[in-house]
């Protein structure tokens, strides 16, 4: 559960439409190895609402008690504190962190720095962890990611790639695990994302405004109900959220055992070849996403439909762009997919 002192977030199941975004978020919750998610699209399409709703939805995780990094007691890598005390870690259940990185955040708050209070009052060097530490094993969300300062972007990419954050301050040197799913959202009209950054996101989802009157009416209706009484509204949807939550938990347990037949592997490779995606990253993400979708559907093996569902978000941002080909890259992926997998 999110911290109950503040207003409850808009429930995930109450979001109208935007299936692709929701499925992508769920897939990343099931299989964090998919990598980050980039949500690009029009304003007012519920990008932030979806991500923030995720915080209220995710099932709790086991973590070492009192560990600021939420170390996994069953995992293989630990922060230095937990490492020193490996014998009998006390375990608690805690919610998956979904950390907001506000634009304009200063570097020391992101990476971590010395705690100002103890430095001033007691003259002691105590590390105060940053947003990266808090996001460990969870999600780091950057709204308007295309407006983020370049030096912060570089830093985030570096940490996201290595899964480890290194702080060097005042002669203090600390390394800690920082494995998180980076979620970025933005509006392409306000500036494009650097290609290097684009490629680092596992999935890329284009989001558009619903152009269906019924959906719009439902959006306004639910928003209205939520604004009137956030608590009551959240309660109303809590049952649906709960169902979804147990679905994620189940999928998390089973995703490791979802099998991929040789036929599926070959088809995935064919799609990537047809599209000419560079490197292996696309193919890997495609398989991981397909497995996550299969797990979410409660299937023991990846089926054609999972591959189909995963192809768009895994590959569309990895196509080499031909400035004269007006065709939207999403459509190019679709074409290749229907050629290889059949309509």
């Amino acid at each position: 559960m999110s911290k109950s002192t503040s207003i409850p977030v808009f429930p995930f199941s109450a979001i109208v439409g935007q299936d692709e975004v929701r499925r992508a978020l769920l897939a990343a919750a099931v299989e964090p190895a998919i990598g980050g998610i980039l949500i690009f699209g029009d304003r007012g399409t519920g990008k932030s609402t979806s991500v923030r709703a995720l915080a209220g939805l995710l099932p709790q995780i086991r973590a070492v008690a009192n560990c600021v990094y939420n170390c996994d007691p069953d995992g293989s890598s630990f922060c230095s504190y937990c490492h020193a005390d490996l014998q009998a870690p006390k375990v608690t259940r805690t919610s998956v962190p979904v950390v907001d990185l506000p634009l304009g955040a200063t570097e020391d708050r992101v990476v971590g720095a010395l705690d100002l209070e103890s430095a001033l009052t007691r003259g002691e060097k105590v590390l105060e962890v940053g947003l990266l530490a808090r996001a460990n094993r969870g999600f780091l969300y950057i709204d308007e990611v295309n407006l983020l300062e370049d030096h912060l972007v570089d830093l985030l990419l570096d940490v996201a790639a290595s899964g480890e954050n290194v702080i060097e301050r005042e002669g203090l040197s600390v390394r800690h695990p920082a494995r998180f799913v980076l979620i970025g959202s933005g509006n392409p009209e306000e500036g494009e994302l650097r290609p290097q950054l684009l490629d680092r996101f596992g999935l890329s989802v284009d989001i558009t405004t619903p152009d269906d009157v019924k959906q719009r009416i439902e959006i306004v209706r639910r928003r209205e109900a939520y604004d009137r009484d956030p608590g009551g509204f959240a309660l109303e949807w809590s049952k649906k959220d709960k169902t979804l939550r147990s679905k994620i938990s189940r999928a998390r347990r089973t995703v490791g055992s979802v099998s991929v037949s040789d036929e599926m592997l070959e088809k995935a490779a064919l799609i990537c070849m047809a599209l000419g995606t560079d490197g292996l990253r696309g193919e890997l993400t495609l398989m991981r996403a397909a497995r996550a979708f299969a797990a979410l559907d409660g299937k023991p093996a990846v089926l054609v439909k999972h591959l189909k569902e995963a192809a768009g978000p895994s590959l569309r941002h990895r196509l080499r762009r031909d400035p004269l080909d007006e065709t939207d890259s999403g459509i190019r992926v679709e074409r290749a997919v229907s050629e290889i997998l059949g309509a």
């Binding site: 007012g44 992101v110 308007e144 405004t209 306004v220 004269l324």
Partner: protein, 608 residues
């Protein structure tokens, strides 16, 4: 009654209505964008706002260059050092909780500042991670964004427009027309009390959603705002549920200004009496009141939606019909694409844009004040450490500055414009036009030398196109390339446009703002694959032109044929270019047109 009243009084009444609604619920309405140059009308409106808001309402002005620390809060260094523990200082946005924030010159607000304020507007929460502090506070305020942009300049950042219900325009109002509305502060208070009980009826909800779609409002927020405003309007009128008039007000004030397309012309056979287009809402309101009270039969949702869509047609500026027949997306004011928004950050010159941690490398400029600020809180700690390590006490420096304190200045610089000329050097145009094109490029080059812009030259003739002159500021090189440009052969228009586009995209990646100027008669006869044939060549050229339009590159088409030419019109349409027929233009005319266009597209050229 049929005679529409002077548009300006209408404008003022609408502005006053927006003001009242926004004051009733800043949470629902977000704010008001006031488009006006500084003057009596704007001042009068602002005075009215402050008066109606009540005496104890905080009113804060947000200057365009306000430091993030002042706006969002941060570490109060003086208090921190004095007291020995961290003291935070609240920013403008927190201190104006429950009040009004007036953002001056909001059109010049930086994208990241706008995005942060937008988040606060939407969530009512201010979260900042700055100066070793996490600041969190709840704050709700009414944002008034003063927009002084001229017609062709970029507007208030989208991220704010999205979250602010109203856009009013006060330009052109005369002082005599500025009457005081008959709303008093007490009405606002009453409406506030009533608002929680006001029901949004299904008819209004459905009609406004349908209207938002018909008008091409492409954000769910526009729709949510419109419905919220309808409720607030009902509260102001003393109703407990929304009715048609509330929907009309929301349509006029929220949806129409956001319209991106003209509603499709519907079935003409519809009975006119059933759906009276209502160009003058005030007039209509009076009639309604005369004929029946508020409790008259409500039209059902579908009828209401039709009415609203019909009414919106009368409200949309008439010239939209001419510029965009049918349902076509309207071009809003220049977006990022055509704007010299490509700000280069981190360059070593330009306008100061804050500081960042950095090393003292050559070329970086140390910001002494910020460095000392960063070092100050740690002095006690460092002193103790320094004492521990050196037995001699005179090893102590007055201020212990460490590497991580170093702050260097960041600058942002408006990168220049690159004008790319794509010149038709084929046989047909070579005869009379090539010389003029050459002259124009030369003139422009001289201009751009002064403005520090760059010029590139693409010539197309025979079988393909060629970059005769890569982007340059060098007069000598340019002149040499021009002199060498030969004419004659077929017209591979598609190849010319493609080459220009590729060059433009490369320039954009480099951070410059490209402008494409095509000089052609539009008579393509070489297709993309190099084969001759008019029809295929024409189609290919249109495709390439379309690509230029898609990428939002500012472009200009100079039609150099001897008489007006429909091919050039099509081409310009696809490129979304300004078309200038130049049957008799000479090179200085070409140059002056290009200059106008590039000036309009660049956001107030900034030179160091």
């Amino acid at each position: 009654m049929d005679e529409p009243p002077a548009a300006s009084t209408d404008k003022w009444d609408e502005a006053c209505l927006a003001l009242s609604l926004a004051l009733i619920s800043p949470k629902i309405c977000g704010g008001v964008i006031v488009r006006a140059q500084a003057g009596p009308a704007r001042q009068h409106w602002l005075n009215l706002l402050v008066r109606l808001a009540g005496e104890n309402t905080p009113v804060v002005r947000l200057p365009v260059d306000a430091a993030p620390q002042r706006v969002f809060g941060g570490l109060d260094l003086v208090a921190t050092l004095r007291s020995g523990h961290p003291v935070s200082e609240a920013g403008l946005l927190s201190t104006s909780n429950g009040g009004i924030v007036i953002a001056a010159m909001a059109e010049r607000m930086s994208a990241s500042m706008a995005a942060q304020i937008g988040t606060v507007l939407e969530t009512g929460q201010l979260i900042a991670e700055r100066d070793g502090l996490q600041l969190r506070s709840s704050t709700r305020f009414l944002l008034v964004a003063l927009d002084e942009a001229l017609e062709d300049e970029p507007p208030v950042p989208q991220v704010l427009q999205e979250r602010m219900a109203f856009r009013i325009d006060l330009d052109g109002l005369r002082a005599a027309e500025l009457s005081n509305p008959n709303v008093v502060a007490a009405d606002i208070g009453m409406a506030r009390k009533r608002l929680p009980g006001v029901k949004l009826t299904d008819e209004v909800l459905e009609a406004l959603c349908a209207a938002s779609l018909a008008l091409g409002v492409n954000s769910a927020r526009g729709c949510i705002l419109a419905n919220g405003v309808a409720r607030v309007h009902a509260a102001l009128a003393g109703r407990s549920a929304t009715v048609q008039q509330d929907a009309e007000a929301a349509l006029r004030l929220v949806l129409v200004p956001r319209a991106r397309s003209f509603p499709e012309v519907e079935d003409e056979t519809r009975d006119d009496k059933e759906t009276p287009p209502d160009p003058d809402p005030d007039d209509g309101r009076e009639q309604d009141a005369d004929e029946a009270g508020d409790d008259r039969q409500l039209p059902d949702a579908e009828e209401l939606a039709d009415m609203l869509i019909e009414a919106s047609k009368a409200l949309l500026p008439a010239n939209l019909l001419i510029s965009s027949p049918g349902k076509q997306t309207l071009r809003s004011r220049p977006s990022q694409a055509g704007r010299a928004g490509a700000l280069q950050r981190g360059a070593a010159r330009g306008r100061p844009a804050g500081t960042r941690r950095g090393d003292l490398k050559p070329g970086q400029k140390l910001n002494v004040i910020e460095t000392l600020r960063a070092a100050a809180p740690w002095q006690a700690l460092r002193r103790r450490e320094a004492l521990k390590h050196s037995a001699v006490s005179d090893g102590l420096r007055p201020i212990e500055v460490r590497k991580q304190d170093i702050r260097v200045n960041r600058y942002q610089q408006r990168s220049g414009t690159t004008t790319i000329f794509a010149v038709d050097a084929s046989g047909s145009s070579a005869l009379n036009r090539l010389a003029e094109a050459k002259g124009a490029v030369e003139l422009l080059l001289a201009d751009s030398y002064v403005r520090r812009d760059q010029v590139a030259l693409v010539a197309f003739r025979g079988k393909g196109a060629e970059v005769l002159l890569p982007p340059t500021r060098s007069l000598v090189r340019a002149k040499r390339a021009l002199t060498g440009m030969a004419g004659g052969g077929g017209t591979p228009l598609c190849a010319g446009l493609e080459t220009a586009l590729l060059l433009a995209l490369a320039e954009r990646r480099r951070g410059a703002t490209p402008v494409i100027v095509v000089l052609t008669d539009g008579q393509a006869n070489i297709a993309r694959d190099g084969r001759a044939g008019r029809s295929q060549a024409g189609r290919d050229a249109l495709d390439a032109a379309h690509a230029i339009g898609q990428y939002g590159i500012t472009s200009l088409l100079l039609d150099i044929s001897l008489r007006p030419n429909p091919l050039a019109v099509d081409l310009a349409g696809a490129m979304r270019a300004r078309l200038v027929p130049l049957p008799y233009a000479d090179s200085s005319a070409v140059s002056s047109i290009v200059k106008q266009e590039t000036l309009a597209s660049s956001d107030r050229p900034y030179t160091v």
